[in-house]
């Protein structure tokens, strides 16, 4: 089979000689967050929709998992809520950056590194803005 590697042969050196940098981190983060959204995110999204379609008891059961009695998030709610929204904004930012790379733009070393770092800044700021608005933005509403 073509997929069985002859272990007597050496691997290309690039497989073992490398170091972390923003560009590769952004690439891997895009993959990890995309896969997380596709699995954990999909299951929670569909569960939410099914609960909403099934009736008040099922919906209360879903909300109970993530909130305390007052309606505020519990620890599970914080971990999944913030984890998923951060993953979403991160995948969105690296995804938009990907569109530029796909056009052949932004491959200059310095610019590529800067935009890789910017995806993290954008994702963190958007996550803070989202939760800040949900928790504190509507107190008078």
């Amino acid at each position: 089979m073509a997929n069985v590697r002859n272990t007597a042969r050496p691997l290309s050196p690039h497989m073992s000689i490398w170091k972390w940098g923003p560009s590769m981190a952004a690439s891997i983060t895009h993959r990890v967050t995309g896969s997380g959204l596709a699995t954990v995110g999909t299951i929670l999204f569909v569960w939410w929709l099914v609960a909403l379609a099934s009736g008040p008891a099922a919906y209360a059961c879903f909300l109970d998992l993530f909130t305390v009695k007052s309606g505020a998030l519990n620890i599970v709610g914080y971990v999944f809520g913030i984890g998923l929204t951060y993953s979403f904004f991160q995948h969105l930012s690296t995804g938009v950056r990907h569109f530029f790379l796909d056009q052949g733009a932004n491959f200059e070393l310095k610019a590529n590194k800067t935009t890789a770092l910017l995806t993290y800044v954008a994702a963190i700021l958007l996550t803070i803005a989202f939760w800040g608005f949900i928790i504190w933005g509507k107190t008078n509403g």
Binding site: R31, G34, A38, F45, V46, L52, A53, F88, V96
Partner: protein, 129 residues
């Protein structure tokens, strides 16, 4: 296929002729996701409350249910294409086929559940449960 070298086995076979199509659809759905998911996240943030009645009434409107169904189609197709690439990158033996079948089952089951639920809410929101 013969038992020659790796390159000998694939030489002349040509490409699978699906790569560019897959790549382009990943981008098309990526663009659709960008618009639809931003709309969804913003709308969720702007909801006055998250109790059963409020959320149901919001979701039952045509101008919410329809984009939400479009969102399900675009994102689920997008992640089905995306996870295929992830599987192909790491799994090279027969397990790859099993995982692809599971991925298709997962996507179709969750996608159908999602669209059914949205339609059910849209068609019954006014009715007693």
């Amino acid at each position: 296929m013969g038992n020659g070298t790796s390159i000998g086995k694939v030489r002349g076979l040509g490409s699978a002729k699906e790569g560019a199509h897959h790549w382009w659809h990943q981008r098309l759905t990526g663009g659709a996701n960008l618009i639809l998911t931003l709309w969804f996240v913003l709308s969720i943030a702007l909801l006055p409350a998250y109790d059963f009645e409020t959320v149901r009434h919001w979701l039952a409107q045509t101008q919410v249910a329809v984009p939400l169904i479009l969102l399900v189609i675009a994102t689920f197709y997008h992640f089905r294409l995306g996870l295929q690439v992830v599987i192909e990158d790491y799994i090279h033996d027969e397990v790859h086929i099993v995982l692809m079948v599971l991925l298709n089952f997962f996507t179709l089951t969750t996608g159908t559940l999602a669209i059914f639920s949205i339609l059910k809410i849209a068609f019954t929101a006014g009715a007693a449960l």
